[in-house]
């Protein structure tokens, strides 16, 4: 440990003395972000000089501080802010951690590297001198601080050079340019292209797109089914999945295709409260990342299924349903209260699920036929234009 610590110190010193010039790349100037991060140190220094308690203001990321903008059709962050001060027993550690994360992020900017949330955690972790206390005990402590910094510096995670896992796959008549490579998503077999977490134009270029619409599928298994059946060829569409709650990269890519290539977006999720919420996140943005709605949300996205009306319309037997558990019920009731679920059809949709007491997985369609989703369900949905807005 002593060695590691020394090493860390020496790298710090090296940085200080050499200050590597940013590699020329077609990216936004890194200087802006770095200046903001260094500005945090200035806050502390200035406060110390005036014998004041150093403080940062951080917008609150919670339901209490978001509002639904009906005109824009997306969730927006409110103006509520909280102070994070140093000389407060409850906040001192967080303040210290914030400075350490800022330091790590600045280091990243100077070195012009991108990294993961977990690596930030490890980079900023060490044992505090003269104690047994670690600066961070788990990654759960560093992740929210990165989000705090995103919000308070008004910088996107990508601009902070922090990436998430590659969490999604895409296939369809689409050609992308990634680090100088030409990626033709119609020639990548059934596995498709793995969507990187940073898909801003500087990093990912949409070179060609001839699809008619985009289908965002919740589950990887159903995406595999559709991909294997070459659904995208027959219906000339793009298939995208985020394997559950879609990560930012997937959401951002869907938004770009929607915006730049005018593709209508349809969302296919399980029929349960979590499925509804995934749809709403794609459509209006999430509560936690409300400040990013502006570039993530797709207000015109449509909910294509699985609807609580489908079991009847498609004659799904009751025995492939799953009983709603307590958590499901309370989550569904929460959804009923969200401003962006107030449209009548949505209230009806959710209440119908609650009164049936059952939820259905997309996979349950296999009860009819392995290819029921590809051959019957989706074609009929598209033909009947049976979706919710």
């Amino acid at each position: 440990m002593a060695r590691a610590k020394a090493a860390r110190k020496s790298t710090g010193g090296a940085e200080a003395s050499t200050d590597p010039a940013p590699r020329p790349r077609k990216r936004k100037a890194a200087g802006g972000v770095e200046t903001k991060l260094v500005g945090m140190a200035d806050v502390v220094i200035a406060a110390a000089q005036r014998a004041k308690d150093p403080a940062f203001t951080i917008p609150i990321r919670a339901l209490s501080n978001v509002s639904f903008n009906e005109r824009k059709g997306m969730i927006e962050m409110g103006r509520k802010k909280q102070e994070r001060t140093f000389f407060n027993v409850g906040m001192a550690k967080k303040f210290m951690q914030t400075m350490l994360v800022a330091d790590a992020l600045a280091e990243l900017q100077r070195a012009d590297l991108t990294t993961s949330l977990r690596e930030i955690y490890y980079r900023a972790k060490h044992t505090i001198k003269n104690s047994q206390e670690n600066t961070f005990d788990t990654q759960d402590e560093s992740d929210p601080i990165i989000e705090d910094l995103e919000v308070s510096l008004a910088e996107l995670r990508e601009e902070l050079h922090v990436r998430a896992e590659n969490g999604g796959s895409i296939v369809g008549p689409l050609v992308l340019g990634d680090d100088g490579d030409r990626v033709d998503c119609s020639r990548l077999g059934k596995g498709g292209y793995s969507v990187p977490s940073i898909v801003e134009p500087e990093y990912l270029d949409i070179q060609k797109c001839t699809a008619d619409f985009l289908l965002l599928v919740e589950k990887g298994t159903q995406w595999n089914r559709l991909s294997e059946d070459k659904f995208w060829k027959k219906y000339n569409c793009i298939l995208l999945t985020g394997n559950g709650q879609p990560p930012r990269g997937v959401r951002r890519l869907a938004r770009r295709l929607h915006e730049e290539k005018k593709l209508p977006v349809y969302v296919l999720v399980d029929n349960d409260p979590w499925g509804y919420y995934i749809y709403s996140v794609v459509k209006q943005g999430s509560i936690n990342l409300a400040f990013e709605s502006e570039r993530m949300a797709i207000p015109k996205a449509k909910f294509i299924g699985l609807s609580s009306a489908d079991p009847e319309a498609y004659k799904l037997p009751r025995n492939v349903g799953i009983k709603l558990n307590e958590k499901d019920v309370s989550r569904a009731k929460e959804l009923l209260n969200y401003a962006w679920f107030q449209k009548k059809p949505w209230q009806l949709e959710i209440k119908r699920m609650l009164s049936s007491g059952l939820k259905y997985e997309l996979d349950a369609l296999a009860n009819k036929d392995f290819q029921y989703l590809t051959k019957t369900y989706l074609p009929r949905k598209l033909k009947e234009q049976d979706w919710l807005d």
Binding site: I45, A51, K129, N130
Partner: protein, 614 residues
């Protein structure tokens, strides 16, 4: 069929059902044998009015000529020697080789043994597993000769068989020595012989105990209380708590000629006047012959007895350990930071008076001898050994330990069946600042001590491992534990306040370093970092109460938390620093009668929990 039916002797019964007496596994059997011999020795000394000096020796018996290591050995020789009054020659065979023979069963008097099974059962177990007889040396005084016996038990007849009986020379002027050779298993840890003796030392500070371990070490438990507990006395049953059937039997068996006479003579706390009053109220003639009082009349007497206000049974029949002695025992055997003890007033279950005593030892006091150098070395070690993710969480989930006693005898097995355990679970420790999960003992470095002294302790089985869960007993234990808990709460809150102030300061000191260094790195190294630290430090000091807090925290040479090593909370309050071993119990060091006086000043405090209860 009839020809095959015959009487079964107790010995035969227990040969087949030895688990009932605590001989189920070899490890437990070894403990039970030691326990029975030690209990007998202590009872003998106390009844003889002698401060007990007991020596316990555990040896491995070589098997096939080879001496095995302790963990693998399966045969042990147990020798327990006391300085008691000795046993007269004629009694020796029956005391040690006849089940259900003894002085303790037919009386209502507090003693460790109750039934007269224990030591003979241990001997029988030895006989059964090794074939070796029990060896006894006993001497009743310096002027009489010591007798040496080898006895076995005739299991069919439940009668002793004497193999050897001679006078020998013995270097002790008085006492008894029992040697048993048994099959067993020696293993340290919970429910071990070692733990048993440790716990004996806690609850019996008037005993001097020497323990020669299997490994050949000698461990001494010094006597810390120089006076013998008051001798318990025999009593008659108390009217509250007896059942109708019991009353009928007593009516039948009594030697008295009149009902009133019977009530006054055969029960505690019933005076002749009260006896007449009871008869009058029950509508039964005071002069009627006890034998003739049956059926309705007996029931009326019974009901009246229960309804009449009668003084609580005499408590001089009981010999509680006492708050002072419990504190002393806990303090010397357990290294903690806080100790407290509570003796409840006597109560009654089923006509048997009993006293519940509880104690707590909380915290981890560093052992004195290790303090100077070893601690600094340990500190140095801490610095080079940072904690990894997930480490350092175990400490918080450590459960407290419950040590249970019945008439000063430690109970080691069947904890979960015991009333004390249930009461400990039922106590809401969270109110006192101690964490507790549902259905578990409270968390933290704590030892909970519970002792029940009674003329008859209701065990759940013959092997005397758990106290039966009578409502009256449970209630008393709960009240005692609550009082202990309340005092612990006071201590913890008080310490918590001091700590949080210290922590506040400490947090800032620690984090200023980090924040300043981070600022320096952010600024590309171009920052007078020491100046920044100094400025921040100034803000920290002014915001945490300045130099006043420094004093409060004892930064001028006190402990790391600004607290002395340990505080003993006694009935008087929460003061009482431990200066030296001898003065450990100073605040409680009053004569027994002083206890009641001492209670008065804290009466308003004591009332609070009672009010909460109702």
């Amino acid at each position: 069929m009839g020809a095959r039916q015959r009487e079964i002797s107790v010995s035969e019964f227990f040969t087949k059902n030895r688990h009932l007496l605590g001989f189920d596994s070899p490890r437990k059997a070894l403990l039970t044998c030691v326990k029975e011999a030690v209990d007998n020795a202590l009872d003998a000394c106390e009844e003889g009015g002698i401060l007990p000096d007991v020596e316990v020796k555990l040896e491995i018996v070589p098997e096939n000529g080879a001496s095995l290591p302790a963990s693998q050995a399966s045969r042990f020789r147990i020798t327990v020697t006391d300085n008691g009054p000795g046993i007269v020659r004629q009694q020796i065979p029956r005391v040690f080789a006849k089940l259900l023979y003894g002085s303790k069963f037919h009386r209502l008097r507090q003693s460790r043994g109750q039934q007269g099974i224990g030591i003979s059962a241990a001997g029988m177990y030895g006989q059964l597993t090794t074939g070796k007889p029990v060896q006894i040396i006993s001497r009743t005084g310096p002027r009489t000769a010591a007798h040496y016996f080898e006895v076995q038990i005739d299991t069919k007849k439940n009668e002793p068989l004497v193999h050897e009986n001679k006078k020998i020379d013995w270097d002790r002027p008085r006492g008894t020595q029992v040697t048993l050779e048994v099959e067993g298993k020696y293993q340290k840890g919970r429910t071990s012989v070692d733990e048993y003796l440790d716990e004996i030392a806690i609850a019996n500070p008037h005993v001097s105990l020497t323990y020669h371990t299997v490994e050949g070490e000698t461990r001494g438990f010094k006597r810390t209380v120089e006076e013998l507990p008051e001798a318990p006395r025999e009593i008659k049953p108390h009217p509250y708590g007896i059942e109708l059937g019991m009353l009928l039997k007593m009516l039948h068996d009594t030697g008295s000629h009149s009902l009133a006479g019977f009530l006054a003579a055969d029960f505690s706390r019933v005076s002749p006047a009260l006896a007449k009053e009871i008869c009058k109220r029950a509508g039964v003639a005071a002069g009627s012959k006890p034998r003739d009082v049956t059926g309705q009349a007996a029931e009326a007497v019974y009901k009246t007895l229960q309804a009449t206000k009668i003084m609580a049974p005499p408590t001089n029949c009981l010999s509680p350990i006492g708050e002072k002695a419990i504190l002393s025992g806990l303090y010397h055997q357990i290294k903690g930071e806080f100790y407290t003890a509570v003796s409840r007033p006597p109560a009654v279950y089923r006509g048997n008076p009993f006293v519940i005593e509880a104690g707590l030892a909380f915290g981890n006091r560093p052992v004195e001898s290790e303090k100077p150098e070893v601690k600094s070395r340990a500190k140095a070690k801490e610095e080079v050994q940072p904690l990894a993710e997930g480490e350092g969480e175990e400490r918080e989930t450590e459960l407290s330990r419950l040590i249970r006693y019945a008439n000063r005898v430690p109970l080691l097995y069947q904890q979960s069946a015991c009333a004390t355990y249930k009461a400990a679970l039922d106590t809401t420790w969270k109110n006192y600042g101690v964490g507790q999960s549902r259905g578990a003992l409270p968390q933290g470095p704590m030892v909970i001590f519970v002792h029940m002294a009674s003329v008859w302790v209701p065990f759940t089985s013959e092997s005397k491992e758990a106290i039966a869960d009578y409502d009256e007993i449970r209630k008393e234990i709960t009240l005692a534990l609550r009082e202990c808990g309340r005092r612990l709460g006071v201590f913890l809150r008080r310490r918590g306040r001091a700590q949080s102030e210290f922590r506040r300061r400490n947090i800032f000191e620690l984090y200023i370093e980090e924040v300043a260094e981070a600022c320096k790195r952010l600024k590309g190294g171009k920052l007078p970092v020491e100046k920044l630290k100094e400025q921040l430090q100034k803000i920290a000091t002014s915001r945490t109460g300045g130099s006043k807090t420094d004093e409060l925290l004892g930064k001028t040479g006190g402990g790391p938390e600004g607290l002395p090593d340990s505080i003993i909370v006694t009935a008087e309050g929460i003061e009482g620093e431990v200066e030296a071993v001898g003065e450990a119990e100073a605040p409680a060091a009053e004569p027994k009668t002083g206890r009641k006086q001492a209670r008065k000043p804290r009466a308003p405090r004591a009332k609070k929990p009672a009010a909460r209860k109702s």
